[in-house]
Each structure stands twice: as structure tokens, then as C-alpha cells.
């Protein structure tokens, strides 16, 4: 492989796979919130 092809392969991997890693990291920093209203029949209370 030529130098420029290797460079672009690495840049592609870093931006796209790095983008995935970054977005997963962002999501892991914000834990899933639970809805108040998913468990039981509504009781009239919030």
C-alpha cells in the first residue's frame, strides 16, 4: 500500500471508529433515565 493510502486508511478509521467510541463514551456518561410511568397502572399520582 502506498503511504497516502495508508494515511487515509488511518484517518478514516480514526474519524469513523473514533466517532463511534466518542459517542459511546458520551452515552455512558449519561445513564439511562427511567420513566415514572412505566411500571404499574396509573395511580393518579405523578
Amino acid at each position: 500500500m502506498s503511504g497516502i493510502a495508508i494515511t487515509f486508511m488511518i484517518i478514516s478509521m480514526l474519524t469513523i471508529w473514533g466517532g463511534l467510541a466518542l459517542s459511546l463514551w458520551n452515552l455512558s456518561r449519561h445513564p439511562e433515565k427511567q420513566d415514572d410511568d412505566v411500571e404499574l397502572a396509573p395511580t393518579g399520582n405523578e
Binding site: S2, E32, E39
Partner: protein, 532 residues
């Protein structure tokens, strides 16, 4: 205040909308929908043809400026209005319901031919073991396997070798759909997606060690910077991203309506978008490494063997399988990946239709699923496992993509952006619980860049399709199954939107109304931070 039962999310009050039991399952299902056949057989060639390594630049611009913003538009509408496409659009504005039915009918057309391709891939998985195609993969595919008629037309001559596997595909799809969002869609994606990723990773590793693989990768990644000056390359990047991310199919509207109310929509969306691209990049490496081997074996240049779509999967890959060491393993992994990637996308396409009818009729999951999927499967089984199935598939795919999805997307961004002026409200909705906040930039991208890019692509397509007969098929054939079909979808959508919603339908949902009143009251002058 979470309890085990809360985490499961399933035990809902009677008649309440189903939800994905966790964020992880939503993300996995959304990735399952986005990662389809196009990621494997379309992206590598599009990138190679449009600048190689340099394609990364328009590709990233397209993801960030159009793909992700449009994905968020889908998420915001589905999540805020908690409904299938027709219901969500109707709740947003009564007159917009027709757009939802347009998407439902588009998904119907895609579903009927998508199942055929999955069935072919399943058979090729089997053929890989014995290398059933012999020395001539092209003749085997066209004459022995599909038994393609000499001329485009409509024939009811069933090809048994395709009929059987298609029946199997529909059976699996219907079982998954009947089981519902949690027990069906989530579970299927929870099994198929990890399998797909593992299989594909093994395939890529095996491919890059083939002789000639490095030449393939060299061809794939060598940048052609001159391509960046060509507007067609930018249009290709926007077009590819648009189809790859499954935006404007109604799929993401439907899936996001099953997300919990306090979901991190933008944070999840970034993961879905980059996971989809990550898989594409992996596919590019795997496919071009294999094509490099094919060129090495044929003593030709990579450019001479590079191809995409059906030709890549069912002609080039079998040739590679025949020649490569452990070729059968490559074949099983490649075609198995196509089956899993296709099946998870087919499920999401069917869900658009099932959810729409479930909402409109107010029926339970099982009845609504059967009343929808059985006729869809029947039509698919009549039209596609025939000697003319390939022609129909080719024309319907080309026209439904351009004059169905693309046209519908353009109308949606114009209607929701300039027409109804809803973007500020939708941005507020996205920001309510999301980790990445959106502002004016998002509205400009959806309301401005979106219509401009989609409009440019559509005009280009209209010009191309008018100036020449698609694939050289007879005018009547493209007229009926191309232009006619695309037009019929719009007429059908208008008719569907005239059918009144029954009293039992999900349009009358006190739980939704009550919640929406609270949300809208809170949004009015000054948000006070109370979370619903």
C-alpha cells in the same frame, strides 16, 4: 427510584404503547435497521468510485450536515407524538397524516422485494459449501438459480429454488413481528446483530490475509482529490448517507415512538449513526480486500473487477469463494452476514406497516400483524420468486428509492420546516432529556441544507430517468412498475388518509393526551425543569 420491574419496562398498563425495555435494545434495533444490504454491497463501491480515500471528506460532511440532523427530525417526531408514521404526523398536524401513509406504502414495496434478496443470500450461504456455481458464477445465477426470462415482463412461472427459501424468510419475519417490540424485534436484533458483527469481523480478517488484498485496499483508500471538485461526488455522499441511515422511511419515527419518554435521543442517535458508518468502513475493507484477491487471481486490475450490488454479491463473491483458500468459509460468512443484515432491516421496514395499521385499527399486536404481513408476504411470493422477479426487483427498487423515499423526504423537510414551522418545538423536545443539545444550527441544517440537498438529488434523478429507459427495459414495463408504482403510492396514501380513525384507534389515547398537555404547558413560556 428504579426497581427491577422498572428496568424491564415491559409490564405496562392495559393498552399502553409498547416500549423498548432498555436504551441498549433500542440502539441495537436502530443499528439493525440502518445496517442493511447497502452497507455491505453499496458503500464500498460508492466510496471507491467517488474519490477513494478522499470520499471521506464529503462522506463526513454528509453525515454531520444531513444524515444525523434528519435522523433527529425522525426521532423527534416519533418520540414526541408517540405513534407510527401516520399517527405521529397526524398528531403533529391533521393534514400531515398522508405523508405517513406514503411512507407506509413505500415500506410495503421495499418489503416485498427485500425478502427475495435475503432468500437468495440464504441459498448462496448453502451453495458456498459445495461451490454449486462451478466455473461460471454469472451463468449459474441468471440461468440456473433465478432462471431469468429473456425479456422484462411479468410472468407467474414460479422458480422453486427461490420460492422455498422466500417462504422461510417470510415465516421467520412474521414470527418475529407477531411477537412484538420486546419479545420479537428487540430479541431478534439482540441475537442477529452480535452474530452479524462477529461473522463480518472474521470475514474481514480472513479477507485481508488473501494474496492481493493489499492491492484492493490500496485502490480503496488512495485518495483522488480532484473528485472533490465534482458536485456529483458530493451528491453521491449525501445520497448514500441518506439511504444508509434509513432516514425518512418512517422506520425511525416508528422505532423512536417505542422509546421511553426520558430517553437521550441525540446521544443515542450519534451512536446509531457512527455505528452504521463504522460497519460500512469495515465492509469497505473486507470487500476491497476480497476484490484485490479476485484481481490478483484474474491477473487484472482492481478497477476491472470492482462492482456493487447484486453483481458484487452473487457474481463476484462466488468467484472469490471458488478461488480463495477456505473459500467456503468466506462464502458462508459473507452470505450469512447479508442474511442477518437484511433480516434486521426487513423487520424494521415491516414494523412501519404493522404499527400504522395497529394504531389506525386499534387492534392488538397479533391480529394487526397477521392482517398486514400475510397479504404482504402473499404479494411478495407471487411477484418475486418468478422468472421475471429480477426485472421487477430492479425497477421497483430504483424507482421507489428515488421517487418514493427521496421525494417523500423532501416533502417532509419542507412541510415540517418551512410549512408548519415546527423545528423550534421539535428542537426543544429533543433537548428535553438529551445529552447533546441542539440549537439554531440543527434547524438550519434540516430546514435549509436538507431541502437543498434532497431537491438537487431528486432533480438529477428525474432528469436521468426521463432521458433514458431505466436498465433498457421496455417503456411500458418501467411505466407501470416504475413511474406508475411511484405515483400509485401517492394516490394510495391520499386514499388511506381519508379513511376515518375508529373509536378504538390509538388516535384516542387519554394517556397520550394527558401527557401531551403537561408537556405543552411546560413548554409555553418558561420551562421550569420538571421532567415528564
Amino acid at each position: 427510584m428504579s426497581t427491577p420491574s422498572l428496568k424491564k419496562g415491559a409490564p405496562l398498563a392495559e393498552g399502553k404503547r409498547e416500549t423498548f425495555s432498555s436504551r441498549k435494545l433500542f440502539i441495537l434495533s436502530a443499528i439493525g435497521s440502518a445496517v442493511g444490504l447497502g452497507n455491505i454491497w453499496r458503500f464500498p463501491y460508492v466510496a471507491y468510485e467517488n474519490g477513494g480515500g478522499a470520499f471521506l471528506i464529503p462522506y463526513l460532511v454528509a453525515i454531520l450536515c444531513a444524515g444525523i440532523p434528519l435522523l433527529f427530525l425522525d426521532y423527534s417526531i416519533g418520540h414526541r407524538y408517540r405513534g407510527s408514521a401516520p399517527l405521529a404526523y397526524r398528531r403533529a398536524n391533521r393534514k400531515a397524516e398522508v405523508l405517513g401513509w406514503w411512507q407506509v406504502l413505500i415500506c410495503f414495496v421495499i418489503a416485498i422485494y427485500y425478502a427475495a434478496i435475503i432468500a437468495w443470500a440464504a441459498m448462496y450461504c448453502w451453495f458456498s459449501i459445495t461451490k454449486a456455481w462451478g466455473d461460471d458464477a454469472a451463468t449459474f445465477f441468471m440461468e440456473d438459480f433465478l432462471q431469468v426470462a429473456p425479456e422484462a415482463g411479468v410472468s407467474l412461472d414460479i422458480v422453486g429454488g427461490v420460492f422455498g427459501p422466500m417462504l422461510g424468510v417470510w415465516l421467520v419475519a412474521i414470527i418475529i413481528m407477531v411477537a412484538g417490540v420486546n419479545k420479537g424485534i428487540s430479541r431478534a436484533n439482540g441475537i442477529f446483530m452480535p452474530l452479524l458483527i462477529v461473522m463480518f469481523l472474521i470475514l474481514v480478517v480472513q479477507s485481508v490475509f488473501l494474496p492481493g488484498a493489499i492491492d484492493g485496499l490500496n485502490a480503496f483508500f488512495t485518495p483522488n482529490f480532484e473528485a472533490l471538485a465534482n458536485p456529483g461526488v458530493w451528491a453521491a455522499a449525501f445520497g448514500h448517507i441518506f439511504f444508509s441511515l434509513s432516514v425518512a422511511f418512517g422506520i425511525m419515527v416508528t422505532y423512536s415512538s417505542y422509546m421511553k419518554r426520558k430517553s437521550d435521543l441525540t446521544g443515542s442517535g450519534y451512536v446509531v449513526a457512527f455505528a452504521n458508518s463504522s460497519f460500512e468502513l469495515l465492509a469497505g475493507i473486507g470487500v476491497f480486500a476480497a476484490l484485490g484477491f479476485m484481481a490478483y487471481n484474474a491477473n487484472s486490475a482492481v478497477g476491472d473487477v470492482a462492482t456493487s450490488g447484486i453483481g458484487l454479491a452473487f457474481i463476484a463473491f462466488p468467484t472469490i469463494v471458488s478461488a480463495a483458500p477456505f473459500g467456503s468459509v468466506i462464502g458462508v460468512l459473507f452470505f450469512g452476514s447479508l442474511v442477518f443484515a437484511g433480516l434486521t432491516s426487513l423487520i424494521s421496514i415491516l414494523e412501519v406497516i404493522v404499527a400504522a395499521f395497529q394504531d389506525k385499527l386499534g387492534w392488538n399486536r397479533k391480529s394487526a400483524t397477521l392482517v398486514v404481513t400475510l397479504p404482504v408476504a402473499f404479494i411478495s411470493m407471487v411477484l418475486f420468486p418468478t422468472t421475471t422477479g429480477l426485472y421487477l426487483l430492479d425497477t421497483m427498487d430504483a424507482f421507489v428509492n428515488q421517487f418514493g423515499i427521496l421525494a417523500c423526504a423532501l416533502v417532509i423537510v419542507i412541510v415540517f420546516g418551512a410549512g408548519l414551522g415546527m423545528l423550534p418545538r421539535l428542537a426543544k423536545h429533543l433537548n428535553r432529556h438529551s445529552s447533546i443539545k441542539l440549537g439554531t444550527g440543527w434547524m438550519v441544517l434540516v430546514g435549509g441544507v436538507g431541502p437543498a440537498a434532497l431537491g438537487y438529488m431528486l432533480i438529477n434523478e428525474v432528469q436521468t430517468k426521463i432521458s433514458e429507459s431505466y436498465s433498457g427495459y421496455p417503456v411500458w414495463f418501467n411505466g407501470v412498475f416504475g413511474w406508475g408504482m411511484a405515483g400509485a403510492l401517492i394516490v394510495g396514501a391520499v386514499l388511506m388518509s381519508f379513511i376515518p380513525w375508529s373509536k378504538k384507534s390509538k388516535l384516542n389515547d387519554p394517556e397520550f393526551e394527558e401527557h401531551q398537555q403537561k408537556v405543552e404547558a411546560e413548554e409555553l413560556p418558561d420551562p421550569v425543569g420538571k421532567e415528564y
